[in-house]
Amino acid sequence: MDRKKISKSDLGQWLDKIAEEYELIGPTEEDEVVQFRPVRSSSELSLEYANSLVPPKSLFFPPVEGLFSFQKRGEEIRLEQIKPLEKDRVVVGIRKCDVESLLLLDKVFCEDLVDASYKERRDRTALIGLACPTPPRSTCFCTSFGIDPLSPEGSDILLTDVGKDYLVDVATKKGEELVALADDLFSKLTEKQAKELQPPPVHMPEMDLSELREKLEALWEDDYWEKLSLPCLGCGICTYVCPTCHCFDIADVGSTSDGVRYRCWDSCMYKDFALMTSGVNPRPTKRERVRNRYFHKFSTFPSRYGTGYACVGCARCLVHCPGGVEITTVLEDILAKEGGSGG
């Protein structure tokens, strides 16, 4: 694989070149909240950041998205599809955990019946990842899921901060095209040079999760979920900041003669999420909903899609939970439970 470097002072120039041809999206800060937003110039970006609050899955599976519009014309009703994208896009500054989350969401949206707007967004968006040479936050635990923050897998280009420069790993043809927009700003590295610049593997507190699924599945009837439901407020923040959560609602907004059918984020933590009109609720109390969430991430998602766990260790849920529910503590508790194959 081609290894290059670009100086930090030149990076902006290259990104601005990209912004001329594509919609450039990256982390920006407003009112102390970091979000992935389209920018017109690289000067708007804040690449010195830990991670965005709302994960960049929002660029592919938006918080609110029109599915189609409808209009009554006499006796007829006309349906008009809504284009997901105008321009091709380049996302810069995405962390490996969030890239991994997209690979998991691809299983949901691009397999079986294909979700066309998600797929179009994925196909027409290049990813310039930003490696984490050290964990951005003390809460990070991505390596517990076998994720390597320094790996370019899943991105088109990976930038690794090595002081005055960024190491540039070009992983795909698309990445090559983007580098070619400002070829002169990049210097090729020999293997020896690249090796010298390469930061060591990232260390962070790591959990051995190999027995997690088995231990978890044995706890279906356990009263642990009752206890965990006590501090849980059922607010749904965890699902809104989680990069792998994908539950959504479909609602018509407007009138019967003129309106739009939207898709918007929803949360399995809400009481009425699975409530049927008849009044039957398969997950009637917090206990069932909290249990369902953990089972989804660590048992049923892997089982259904043949993947690893549906968590990337970003710990956004831990940071933002108002009730202080901490995913790392829950996982430790599950692993510590007796039963199954020895403690």
């Binding site: 019946l113 479909i250 018509d252 898709r263 929803d266 009109t277």
Partner: protein
């Protein structure tokens, strides 16, 4: 853009047939003539009916795929969308998105004797299969239908019930929870009624659909009578939105009712934690 799996096809209401005080059958045909001809489905599948501006609702397709050119839905008015459906008149437009879900195990049951046990509005999903079987009568063995509703008013497909009763190649049994002056048939709940009839499990597959409590007691009764879980098949109801296994709402364990179901055998359900609590 490629096919939008959330985009319904436009259809027109051709007929509205009241069945009970709160339930009606809606017969719809697709506006696009090619679609009208080419649309296929399997008995047991469902579709999402759209009232634009109000919302969508999953309804079992009650007609059999052997009837071409139209779809029948039996809808009870309980919520926002279903009440809006009940406001429809002949000539009004609806959206139809489908067919969705899996289907009754049509091939596996060939040559077997079939037992259908329905309660109230649980009959329409069964009816799709019943009609299919009756339209392909020589592929299947004996057909027994056991049906019950709260009262004579609440029986759906009243005319068809008479038809089934009169057919020599169908054994038909009907009961109501509470009778009235017009009723001179059996009175009582479906599960004990079923036990009285005592249909043999030999070479038989049982299909049941109805209120959760009825299903529970029916399955208990069938097991008492010697039916194996693999030979008891039901169709589940869950809150649905996307209908295509993506919105995360209708799951039980790792199964999405809208994709892996709604038809399941009890052998399958017993393997899924939490399935039988629903």
């Amino acid at each position: 853009m490629a096919d939008n799996i959330y985009l319904p096809s436009m259809a027109t209401v051709k007929e509205v047939r009241p069945e009970t005080p709160d339930t009606s059958t809606f017969v719809v045909t697709f506006d696009d003539p090619t679609l009208r001809e080419s649309f296929t489905y399997r008995a047991g599948q469902f579709a999402e009916m759209s009232i634009f501006g109000v919302g969508e609702c999953p309804i079992g397709i009650a007609s059999s795929p052997t009837s071409k050119g139209f779809l029948e839905f039996c809808v009870r008015a309980v919520g926002t969308v279903t009440n809006a459906i009940h406001d429809l008149e002949v000539g009004d437009k609806v959206g139809v998105r489908g067919p969705l879900g899996n289907s009754w195990p049509i091939e596996e049951i060939e040559g077997k004797d079939l037992l259908f046990i329905g309660g109230g509005i649980g009959l329409p999903p069964l009816r799709s299969l019943i009609r299919y079987v009756l339209d392909n009568r020589d592929r299947y063995g004996a057909v027994e239908i056991v049906y019950g509703a709260r009262s004579p008013q609440d029986l759906v497909y009243k005319d068809e019930l008479r038809e089934w009763d009169e057919r020599p190649d169908v054994s038909f049994y009907v009961t109501v929870d509470v009778g009235d002056e017009t009723w001179d048939g059996p009175v009582g709940f479906v599960p004990p009624f079923l036990k009285e009839i005592n249909p043999s499990p030999e070479n038989k597959v049982a299909f049941t659909c109805g209120p959760p409590i009825m299903i529970k007691l029916v399955v208990d009764a069938l097991e008492e009578m010697g039916y194996a879980d693999a030979d008891i098949v039901t169709t589940l109801e869950m809150k649905m939105k996307c209908g295509v296994g993506k919105c995360g709402r209708c799951n039980i364990g790792d199964k999405y009712i809208c994709r892996d179901g709604p038809v399941f055998s009890f052998e399958q359900l017993r393997k899924i934690p939490g399935a039988l609590e629903v």
